[in-house]
């Protein structure tokens, strides 16, 4: 990447934060509104890609010390694990439960085990997308 993309870099600084926040919003919102693990994960991945495009790969590696291969594996394991939990409780594989709870700060909140499954999906998607893009871009 060229080093004098001043506009790109300045915009990215702000935009990346917005995209990251938005992707978390999308992810958390998925149960009732458009969004969910897949989209949330992909948009987070795209914000990381944006960072990479403007600041270069070394900066990213320095600041986000995550092994994206491991991240995707952890994602799949979480997804399978939530399935296994229902087996332990004697329900068919991947049975999801949900319920409303009164939490201290959030008030009446719906908690669904599907969210954990979705976390797995999101992590797998982030890991894989970033991993593919980084490996292709490192190949010179």
């Amino acid at each position: 990447m060229k080093s004098n993309d001043v506009i790109l870099k300045s915009v990215t600084r702000v935009a990346a934060v917005i995209i990251l926040t938005f992707s978390i919003y999308l992810f958390m919102n998925g149960h009732h509104h458009p969004g969910g693990g897949f989209i949330g994960g992909l948009s987070m991945a795209s914000s990381i890609v944006l960072l990479y495009l403007s600041f270069g790969i070394d900066k990213i590696r320095e600041n986000i010390r995550v092994d994206f291969k491991k991240l995707s594996a952890i994602g799949v394991l979480i997804a399978i694990g939530t399935g296994m939990v229902s087996v332990v409780f004697g329900k068919p594989f991947l049975t999801q439960v949900f319920g409303h709870y009164n939490l201290p700060i959030f008030g009446d909140t719906e908690l669904a085990s599907a969210l954990i499954f979705d976390t797995g999906v999101a992590l797998a998607v982030i890991g894989t997308a970033v991993n593919i893009i980084l490996s292709i871009s490192e190949d010179r």
Binding site: H31, G37, A112, I136
Partner: protein
């Protein structure tokens, strides 16, 4: 509770790497692993009184209840017998392996993971009532034994042995799957027990014989029957504890288990009898003849296993006649044959297990396994010798060891077959006792060779690679226990018979009342044909053993070109050549060719099925009106598609393609599918970035290739493809064959608590799909990573060179 124990090996396999990492320096990982089979064994013991009283236990674990696809397990006599063998011998094998496998040099975590996987798979096989679940575990035994055999994967012979075992057993497994599917089709159930309740339907069905053949293929390949047995000697490349586990107690017995389990369904037909008993007795003879000419102790035991499995198989075949005769005097005689099969199965596990461990000790202490180098070990290893003597004489069928009892019953059974007079046995029947007798002589001979060539004769330390001394107690413990069992069973066979074997017999032959006949095993049964035959075996066997030097050499000169192994190797290399030449013809490395294959296949299959099934119907009545936005978007899309086609610069094409994708997502917005629109937009962004990254690697877009046929093919394919998709989309809208399922998803909020139906489908209703999808995604991602990094690594190496 039951499932906790059945899945215990598989669950604890996950813990093994951590145990290895944190404790291995102080404690051998095997000590932790030992807890697993021991606790299963103790747990299963509590079933013995109930099962002996004739009870069975059923456990259900819901899997897909809506399809009646559940994991149902039954504990009955047969599965309990196998369960006890698997966990009991498993415990002994693990104790032995603690002393055999060095905690410093060996990758113990791998070893115990594979071993636990294997144990769990075997337990799954014997307890499953659902045929498909049984098949799943069956293949897991193939896979885990592949990993075990190739445990020392840096050796070429290990890899080849593992490959051979996998190819042959999985081939049989596929056959078996086909057989199971036919059975499921015939009986319309997955459950073996429900099939037993429905026997008439199955037995009068056209698919009865094909299903039987397919199931037998699986059983025969797994149990190393002739001519599939060639994988078993090569499987001896595995570490000895594995050999003694896989080949004495578990893996090869899976086929026996299957045949026993299927006897109530298929037994009583002449095809079943001839195949099971006939192949069994041929395997017995082939195995014993081949074992005699081996010089490697482990190979000798491998062929002896093949031969003994043949014996058990033959007995099961003979026993299946009981189903034909039904309750009554003739039926009773053959019921005893099935009993003998179970008895010998148990005995074989005890003596063969101890013999394998003895070979492991010899190998470990002397560094040699070849009888041409060994001899006189009796003087330095007296305890090992005693164990080998007990095991060897039991295998030879001599008193006072358990092998004698079951072999006498075997002789009795084959004598009965020659008199049975059905299934064309009148003239052929006499072959059974003759072959059995000849095979027993050779069995006797190789047992003598095994024991006395190794332990008797001159002690020649100069030929051995290590300083020989007696093995440590830990290595002697397990074989000693098994040897003790060998003797105990001889003196108290009826305890085993009453509590373990008779219930197992009841589950193989449910219609035969056990009270009608006397199932007492007795060491002395008067001077009868069987005893005379045994005397003949000993006399002729001893003569042959004394003169062995002369004739064994002749047998060893048997031409290699005529062996089954040679045939296998030829076949394998032939298949490889064929597939290589076929593959190189279509895998040209040109992406354009692959796209042509894919698209033409797609077009041909879809268009022809649309035409054949009269699928082309249009229905525009319920279409929405066309708004100005739609027209604008379509125009935009056409323009950008055209730009992609005629762009002279690749970057323009990529940008135009991206624009096309964004406009598709705009369509989703118009049609109120925000989830789809979001996904499409993000995916489009990411793929465009990917494209730009690949840009560096792509060749310059040139117009150098201007040949007409080239362009014409492209034109035809692309138009056909576009046409197909258009037709498909229009006719999909034109058909309303089934009620739309969308109404089901309307109650997403009640069922899943989600207001977003799309997400409810993704994580709740079709969560399984999503789980597998992300697995595929991750695997693809790792694939990309590996491809690219391998290549750049190679390139770096080239640069260094």
């Amino acid at each position: 509770m039951f499932y906790t124990y059945i899945f215990l090996p598989l669950i604890s396999a996950i813990l093994v790497p951590f145990l290895y990492k944190y404790f291995n320096r102080k404690v051998h990982t095997g000590w932790f692993v030992l807890l697993v089979p021991v606790s299963i064994f103790v747990y299963l013991l509590q079933y013995i009184p109930g099962v002996a009283a004739g009870d069975t236990y059923k456990y259900t674990l819901s899997w897909i209840p809506s399809l009646e696809l559940n994991m149902i397990s039954y504990v009955d006599g047969l599965s309990l017998l196998f369960g006890l063998l698997i966990s009991g011998v498993g415990s002994l094998v693990i104790i032995y392996s603690i002393f055999y496998m060095s905690k410093v040099r060996e990758a113990l975590h791998n070893f115990y993971i594979y071993l636990l996987m294997f144990m769990g798979a075997m337990l799954g096989v014997v307890f499953s009532d659902n045929l498909l679940v049984l098949y799943g575990f069956w293949e897991l035994t193939s896979v885990s034994s592949f990993l075990l055999i190739s445990y020392w994967y840096e050796r070429k012979s290990s890899r080849q042995g593992a490959q051979k075992a996998l190819l042959i057993t999985v081939l049989g497994g596929f056959g078996m799957l086909a057989g199971f599917i036919m059975l499921i089709m015939m009986a319309d159930t997955y459950s073996i027990r429900e099939m037993l309740a429905n026997l008439e339907v199955i037995q009068s069905h056209v698919l009865f014989i094909p299903a039987m053949l397919c199931v037998l293929l699986g059983a025969f390949t797994k149990s190393a029957q002739f001519p599939f047995g060639i994988w078993l000697p090569d499987a001896m490349e595995a570490p000895t504890p594995v050999s003694s586990y896989l080949h004495s107690a578990t893996m090869v017995k899976a086929g026996i288990y299957l045949v026993a389990r299927m006897t109530p369904i298929f037994g009583g037909s002449s095809v079943w009898f001839w195949l099971v008993a006939g192949i069994g007795i041929i395997t017995l003879l082939y195995g014993s003849l081949t074992a005699v000419r081996q010089t490697d102790l482990k190979a000798m035991l491998a062929y002896s296993t093949i031969s003994q499995l043949g014996l058990i198989m033959c007995l099961l075949g003979v026993g299946s006649l009981a189903v034909y005769f039904g309750p009554g005097e003739s039926g009773t005689i053959f019921t005893v044959a099935t009993f003998a099969a179970l008895f010998h199965l148990f005995n074989h596990s005890t003596f063969k297990g101890s013999l394998f461990m003895v070979v492991g000790i010899i190998d470990h202490e002397t560094g040699r396994r070849d009888i041409r180098y060994l001899g006189g070990l009796m003087q330095v290893m007296p305890i090992t010798f005693t164990i080998a003597l007990i095991g060897g004489l039991s295998m030879a069928g001599l008193p006072p060891f358990n092998g004698f009892l079951s072999k006498e019953m075997f002789f009795a059974a084959v004598n009965e077959v020659s008199k049975a007079g059905i299934f064309g046995l009148g003239s052929m029947g006499i072959l059974f006792p003759i072959i059995a007798w000849v095979a027993s002589i050779f069995t006797f001979v190789y047992c003598m060779i095994f024991v006395f060539k190794t332990f008797g004769g001159q002690y020649r330390p100069e030929k051995l690679t290590r300083k020989v001394h007696e093995a440590p107690w830990g290595m002697l413990f397990s074989p000693a226990i098994l040897a003790l069992l060998v003797i105990l069973i001889f003196f108290f066979p009826n305890v085993l018979g009453k509590y373990i074997l008779t219930p197992a017999l009841t589950s193989i032959l449910p219609n035969m009342p056990t009270t009608l006949y006397d199932l007492k095993i007795s060491a002395w049964h008067g001077i009868n044909t069987e005893l005379v035959m045994t005397f003949g075996v000993i006399v002729v066997g001893l003569l042959l053993f004394k003169t062995a030097k002369g004739w064994i050499q002749v047998m060893r000169n048997y031409p290699q070109g005529l062996t089954l192994n040679h045939l296998y190797n030829q076949g394998l290399s032939g298949t490889e050549r064929l597939s290589a030449s076929l593959t190189s013809r279509y895998m040209t490395g040109s992406l354009r060719h692959y796209l042509i294959y894919t698209f033409s296949f797609f077009v041909i299959v879809l268009i022809s099925s649309l035409l054949l099934l009269h699928g082309i119907q249009f229905d525009f009545t319920s279409d929405a009106g066309i708004s100005i936005f739609d027209v604008g978007l379509v125009l935009g899309m056409i323009i950008s598609a055209g730009t992609v086609l005629f762009a002279s610069n690749r970057i323009v094409a990529i940008v135009a393609l991206g624009a096309l994708g964004y406009m598709v997502s705009m369509f989703f917005v118009i049609f109120r599918a925000p989830d789809l629109a979001l996904t499409q937009m993000v995916v489009e962004t990411v793929t465009t970035v990917l494209f730009l990254l690949c840009f560096y690697h792509l060749p310059k877009l040139t117009k150098s290739i201007q040949r007409i046929p080239f362009k014409l093919t492209n034109l035809v394919i692309s138009i056909a493809m576009g046409l197909t998709v258009t037709l498909l989309a229009l006719s999909a809208n034109g058909h309303k064959l089934f009620k739309p399922i969308s109404s089901f998803f309307e109650n997403a909020f009640e069922l899943a608590g989600a207001k977003n139906i799309v997400n409810a489908i993704l994580v709740d209703f079709r969560g399984f799909d999503t789980m597998l999808e992300i697995s595929v995604l991750v695997i693809a991602g790792l694939g990309v990573y590996i491809f690219i990094h391998q290549r750049s690594k190679r390139r770096e190496q080239n640069e260094i060179e």
